[in-house]
Amino acid sequence: MNKLSVVISLLILLFHQSNAQQQASYFTDSTHQLAEVVVAVQQKATNKKIKVLSSLDNYLENNNAINMVKRGAYAWEALINGMASERSVITIDGMRIYSACTDKMDPVTSYVEITNLSKAVIHSGQAGGANGSTIGGGIDLIRTKIDTNKLGVNASIFTGFESTNQQKIIGTSMQYAEKKFYTLLDFTYRNAQNYKAGNNIEIPFSQFTKYNLSATAGWKINHQKQIIASVIYDDARNVGYPALPMDVAFAKAFIGSVQYEYHNSKSTLYHWETKLYFNSVTHLMDDTKRPNVPVHMDMPGWANTAGFYSKLEGKMNNHNFLINLNAHYNTSLAEMTMYSKNSNEKDMFMLTWPGVHTLFGKLFVEDKIDLNKNWSANISAGLSINNNTIKNELGLTSLQIFYPNLLASKTRLLKNIAGKINYRKNQWQQSFGVGFGERAPSISEGYGFYLFNSFDKYDYIGNPTMKNEKSLEINSSTSYNTKKVSIHFQVDYFRIFNYIIGMPNNNFIPMTIGANGVKVYQQLPYVNIFNLSFSSTYRITNSLQIAGKMVYRKGNYQSLNLPQIQPISYGSTIRYQHKNFIAECAVEGALKHTNFSPTFGETGTDDYTILNLSASKQIKIFNQTVQIKTGFENLFDRYYSTFADWNKIPRNGRNFFINVVYNF
């Protein structure tokens, strides 16, 4: 009961300042009206966020629409509006990247370091459909753009330490700009041992090492046109996944692009951007370090994607429109080799992703219409073609064991349309939207072959005969903003038809030793997903503010609860800021997870509350600045796990961190 009173009291509390700024910018960003923009931390002197070198995972998790599924110490899977990554489109600078891991160990979000991210643009529902077909929404991770006003060399070096897993972070960011040419280079290295959960319990197989390099070079043809080339190289090694039966020997991603940009604020078509890109992800899962494995196995995966987009933004009378034409071609292949204990026997080999080639093309249009002083509307629509072809002969004959009449190729037409009406008057803003969208099954859902899910302990078989999943959504938000107070209240309701989910099939024998059975992807006639979030900020004095938030979700099909649906969760922050000093005390927690899904292996999680303390100080030495940021997370060393933690692996125990950034 006292938890409930905590929640109620938090309802009147307010959320931290950056969130308030988000809300404030919510209606002022003309082209991305439907977007919620999370401004990422920068190692800039102006930065208000304390833990600048936190992982991107921790960072995204602060957004009300997002939950992060934790399988290990890093590379968490982002859920948008309570929906798994199959139902969303996550891009880096508009580029589509397919993960190469059948167990979702390499989400797209793991390829961007927080130090080279400028913002994460989060679209809820169909508004996120510009770069692909989505149900839940989209995240576009926008990397840092160079500050071309600062000519010459600007650089910073940063380092950090976290006590919970002896994590050492070191990196640098360097930019060099001339009038016509500029370049930006970011490098981050992280090395972590096993982390400790609350009560000083070590979580084995949670170590990782990671290198991330991001480089951009731009050439200004004139003040309207420029060409930008960019690469990311991300290399993670010896990554433990304590929630899974396997670890990652290495995961490598190369992401490259060339972009042409035209900008003329006076013209009707004021921005035109075209990008060609290619990315290649290699992933090797293995279990060589795990003891007592019945059968050792290697599970490498490869995903290569090439694509382009061309995005045109224009302004005409009261219309502000965007046209985005994009296409990509992906090849996904994953293997499994099992080594029998009897060394005379041949290795057991299968394709878990049967060499699926995906060709996707989309035309997306969006228009924002200012109707009058108070009213505006957004309309967006898209049409895409999605073709999947199994190119690997062994892969095709494997799946034909289950689907004897399966043809190698399948083409789908996917449609989406959404509308939103906004009203603003004085401090009040109100919006109401509806949307419809469709998506194709993911590679695993359509073509996966004996993919073991360590959560419900079933082997999953893809189903290429499934129909498109369709979603109808209704959303509404209310905001109230003054200099002292800001309140934001958001409700989303999704009714998803032909909802794709694995269901047990007792006719099949599981392949994985110890598995409970085989699930085949099926479609429920419809499911309901309901999201409610509330956040608020109250500025007590100029230097003291208090913020609070609460999120609740529900997902069900009749009496069947959907998995990974967030229980009531809350957070509250008190922040003191004076000149270059910031101190923050934050409480976060969740109520007991009662609407869990036993069908999918969930057993519910207990309620928890944790306390974090942090402080930051910026020191100026001549023309250079040093920022020192430090604090404790989970100060009382609470042992807990959230509803989204895979197999209930606990979160960090007490963690002392220190981040130092030196700009010169």
Partner: protein
């Protein structure tokens, strides 16, 4: 240039092309086959071929050609054969087919022999071939080496009806990760020398991967005959490469299991099974 010259030129070319065509037909007869054994008598050499150049335990598809001593091929023979196992205490034959002329071939003869055991230095197989050319009958007999295989592809067992059966796997000879067409032949031992085909039974299959928790595969189809005195056909799903144990049960026409047990949590394997490794 007169017409006659042109005509003879064309005729010469035509003749040359057609000769060449004819010449290329005959060597094709044994394409893809490897000679396994040659048996000779005073008048002929008989050359046996198989897919891999060996006689092996289990089902063997065997081809042969009869050559005159001058090397020319006999194309108008009729033939039959008789394999015989010389054991230390007794002799017996094995299931085998009659011999027929291979389709689309002038000189090739074919049939199958199911060697239910391999030979060794003291116990061995010999093969007698008896053939008739232009009403004259010839014979030749010679010892042959029948190699053992490491994976069970032929079974001899006694059913609960007290009949001895020989069950041989014919296909898949080249298994794939797929739903494979499976073929087997079923014989009963009538006498030591006679092994007729058994009709109208069902051969139940349950493939299992013993190194991976003894898991099975979906959508297998038990083997049934499609024609009297013919093979038994079914579908065998192999979901990965490696070692598979194909557990078997032999069911007669009235649905009684004569041999073999279902695989259960406590019964890991049937008493009769084939093995496949690829």
């Amino acid at each position: 240039m007169n017409v006659l010259k042109l005509f003879s030129f064309i005729a010469a070319i035509t003749l040359f092309i057609s000769c060449k065509k004819e010449n290329t037909i005959i060597p094709n007869d044994t394409d893809g086959l490897i000679s396994a054994k040659s048996i000779s008598n005073a008048t002929h050499n008989i050359i046996f071929y198989t897919q891999n150049g060996k006689f092996q335990q289990g089902y063997n598809k065997i081809f042969f050609q009869i050559k005159n001593l001058d090397g020319s091929l006999v194309t108008n023979a009729t033939a039959n054969w008789k394999p015989l196992m010389h054991m230390t205490s007794m002799q017996h034959a094995c299931p085998y087919s009659s011999v027929s002329k291979s389709a689309n071939s002038n000189s090739l003869y074919e049939g199958f022999i199911v060697f239910q055991m391999a030979g060794n230095s003291t116990e061995y197989w010999d093969l007698t071939i008896e053939y008739t050319i232009d009403n004259t009958t010839y014979t030749a007999t010679e010892r042959i080496d029948v190699e053992a295989v490491t994976k069970k592809n032929v079974l001899s067992f006694k059913g609960s009806d007290n009949v001895s059966y020989v069950l041989a796997m014919v296909a898949p000879s080249n298994p794939k990760v797929a739903t494979n067409d499976m073929e087997a032949m079923l014989f009963k031992k009538e006498t030591m020398m006679s092994y007729p085909v058994v009709n109208n039974y069902t051969i139940k299959i349950d493939p299992r991967m013993t190194s991976m928790g003894n898991h099975g595969s979906p959508n297998n189809v038990d083997l049934k005959q499609t024609s009297l005195n013919g093979s038994y056909f079914g579908k065998l799903s192999l979901t990965m490469t490696g070692y598979w144990k194909i557990n078997l049960q032999l069911e007669n026409e009235s649905g009684t299991i004569l041999k073999g047990e279902p695989v259960t949590a406590t019964q890991e394997s049937s008493s009769i099974f084939f093995e496949i490794e690829f």
